[in-house]
Amino acid sequence: MLSKSLADELRSVLGAEWLLDSSEDLATYSYDAFLREYTPDAVAVPANSEEISQIMRIADREKLNIIPRGAGTNICGGSVAKQGGLILTFHRMNEILEMDPQNMCAVVQPGVVNADLQKQAAGCGLMYPPDPASLFVSTIGGNVALNAGGPRGVKYGVTRDYLLGLEVVLPSGAVIRTGGRTLKNVSGYDLTRLMCGSEGTLGIVTEIIVRLIPLPPAKATLQAVFTDLQDAAQTVAAIVGSGIVPATLELIDRVILDVIGDYGGANFSRQAQALLLIEVDGEEASTKAQGAKIEEFCKDRGAIAVERADTPAEADRLWQARRTAFGAVASLRPNCIVEDATVPVRNLPVMIRKIVELGEKYNLKIGVLAHAGDGNLHPLIMTDLRDAKEMIRVEKAIDELYEAALGMGGTLSGEHGIGIAKSRFLTREFSPAAIEIMRGIKKVFDPRNILNPGSFPESTE
């Protein structure tokens, strides 16, 4: 709990109604979509960067922890108060400040929902490509903090690739601007991209200039049906290896197909042991040609059918159902641990084989879901945190999974972030010297360690 004088001071900055500390508020800002809950001391709902700057000054002086939180959909524990403190939310900073089609960019506040930006951009014939599964809920601020990706990453990249500039409030209260509206910018260190993926440990992003690209005029969604998971994985590696880059190349195994079922009227193949959900986009003629080529590739490598979604609505239903996978597995077991190990795409078939082996070896129910085209795997381990014996097996399996991914030149996390979910593994991916550099950077930005403490890089145990 905050002392009365500190709460009063914060209220004088925010206005009384925007500092929340009722039991109900503390209970409902104690979680994100990761497994562990931590009760904060209070929740602030600022209206602008000036208020945030004043809050930071107070927090720095009082050594009050500040934990920025978007929509709380991350699955690494990135936005919970691990060591108590003040949750900073952006509900009132949710405006698209400017659409700038001439410069192919938009200026947005951190609380803008990803899908709202996409919709507005589409209205101008433009596209904001990053499309995390949480896009109808998650905010651009949160996407920046976690460097969110999504299915379209294989062709279009991730949040980091669409950032031109930022406004950031530092723990000292100073407000800095990075980047600008130009596509090219090599002046100084690239602070814009340093902030991206920093998980709220360096500064508070209060304004974002995002890059937009032309909206492809046509797209087609295909589902390729395989009776063998390995065939599907080999096909992915072969498609990408041949130089064809579809907009999305998703792999879903039978376990996941069973749990998402026919959510929202989606019509997935019933025969599939594995399914590739593929979208190609671009000019009408090129999508047709690419679609045909991909179909041929799939059939040559064992696909028993390649079906095309007939209408945009039908394609939407498939994608909407795909996005529910994380939530849907909860209908099987009480908890779900989503891993995010990512490997060079050529190694995808080996990695998928490894995941299946780990499930058998440790007697665990693991579903395989992957943004396969960019080697980004999401094995979903369905488990029960209350079962101590099973949790030991889960830990062992995760351990081996990372060992394998890193051994192939991969990474712990492709897009979900480190947070508290994977901080203990960080020393495997980085040498002590690299970790020291990260800690040094953290100290420069946040010498008193008030920003999202308990996250990487200080906690690697």
């Binding site: 929340l20 009722s22 039991s23 109900e24 508020d25 209970a27 409902t28 800002y29 104690s30 979680y31 994100d32 979509a33 709902v45 929509a71 709380g72 959909t73 509900h91 899908a115 949480s134 109808f136 809920v137 998650s138 998402i260 959510y263 929202g264 996005r323 529910t324 996978a325 994380f326 939530g327 849907a328 909860a330 209908s331 009480p334 908890n335 779900c336």
Partner: protein, 379 residues
């Protein structure tokens, strides 16, 4: 359902947050406690008694439309609607009704309807009806009973809806009876307020009266009456919304339409669509009208957004209900249609109230009113 019996519902929520995308209340009030995910967390805490049932808590759970969008969206299959109704039961049990609904519910229990009028006024909608038969549709026996519902019976702005239904059924040659002053509130407002046991007497009365008619089927204009009959009455009777009976009459060739040059959109009422699963019947009726073109709303069928009139929210938080209505109207206007058709008197009333207050031109019709207009020989 008692809160302790549904613990598995909230244990199954893994806080993915997808429900935040569709909850109209969450979108307006944005603080996590008002979102479905937040309310599930609170229910869990209250369920294990680690939070007090404060007045603030009662206010939070009163700000829910019971529209069912969250239940439809939830990929984990959590029946959030059930949890929220159970929470209202616990709150009503331990702290009493929300002060803003208490008076209305007390009056309901006394008068057997949601207005402040005596229940004998329930048949008032028939006044001024052309071709009103001498029996005024009150009969000793009838295979089909028409359950008019409180809103259509007592609110003058929507009394033309039962008039339209009666006219259409007569034109189609379908014999039916109404209960008039013997029809009591179906109990839905009490169920929604967390006091289903107080609705028992009302339910029993209605069932007795319908059974006394020897009815085989009951037709409802109000989707919420239909829903409470389906979920709480459980009678051995066929229960149909009027849009379903209109669809049946059409396919039997008992209704003939004239051309109507009109572009309309259709608003799926929550209790008819998401909560009763009726999406196609009203659309089939609309599509049967020659010259009429139907433009769907961006969010239609199970993605339809509540008009703001659900869950007693209007009584508890009028400005919230109104801002949700505004979003609905904006979505309707984006279709370019000059008329919105729906199939619920509460939806009609909520939308019309908003339009009147904001001097906005848009025609709102119940499906029965539209059919009456399209009938070749208008009765």
């Amino acid at each position: 359902m008692k809160l302790e019996h549904i613990a598995e519902e909230f244990d199954q929520c893994i806080k993915c947050g997808l429900c935040l995308a569709t909850c109209p209340v969450g979108k307006e009030l944005f603080l996590e406690k008002y979102t479905p995910r937040g309310k599930i967390q609170l229910a869990k805490f209250y369920g294990r008694e680690s939070l007090d049932l404060s007045a603030h808590c009662r206010d939070i759970f009163a700000k829910c439309l019971l529209c069912g969008s969250c239940s439809v969206t939830c990929p984990s299959g959590v029946d959030l609607n059930k949890v929220f109704v159970s929470m209202r039961e616990r709150i009503a049990d331990r702290r009493g009704f929300h002060p803003r609904v208490r008076q209305a519910l007390d009056s309901l229990l006394e008068n057997h309807n949601i207005s402040e009028d005596a229940n004998q006024e329930r048949g008032e909608w028939r006044e001024d009806m052309r071709d009103l038969p001498a029996d005024m549709y009150e009969k000793d026996r009838a295979a089909t009973a028409y359950f008019v519902g409180c809103v259509a019976s007592f609110f003058p702005t929507v009394q033309s809806i039962p008039r339209a239904v009666a006219g259409i059924l007569t034109a189609a040659g379908l014999d039916f009876a109404v209960l008039a002053g013997d029809e009591w509130c179906c109990g839905f407002p009490l169920i929604g307020a967390g006091a289903p046991e107080k609705a028992r007497a009302l339910m029993q009365h209605n069932l007795e009266k319908i059974n006394a008619l020897g009815a085989e089927r009951v037709v409802f204009s109000c989707p919420s009456c239909l829903r409470s009959w389906k979920e709480y009455y459980d009678p051995d009777l066929e229960l149909l919304h009027d849009s379903e009976i209109l669809d049946n009459l059409l396919s039997e060739g008992r209704l003939e339409f004239q051309e109507l040059n009109l572009t309309v959109t259709y608003h799926d009422p929550c209790d008819l669509g998401k909560n009763s699963g009726v999406y196609e019947a009203p659309r089939k009726v609309l599509e049967a009208v020659p010259g009429l073109s139907l433009v769907e709303l961006e969010n239609n069928r199970d993605r339809s957004i509540c008009c703001g009139g659900g869950g007693n929210v209007e009584m508890v938080a009028a400005p919230l209900s109104e801002s949700i209505a505004r979003r609905k109207i904006e979505e309707i206007q984006a279709t370019g249609a000059s008329t919105v058709v729906t199939a619920c008197q509460q939806c009609v009333r909520t939308m019309q109230t908003y339009l009147r207050r904001h001097k906005t031109a848009l025609e709102v019709l119940d499906i029965a009113q539209l059919v009456q207009r399209a009938l070749k020989h208008d009765t």
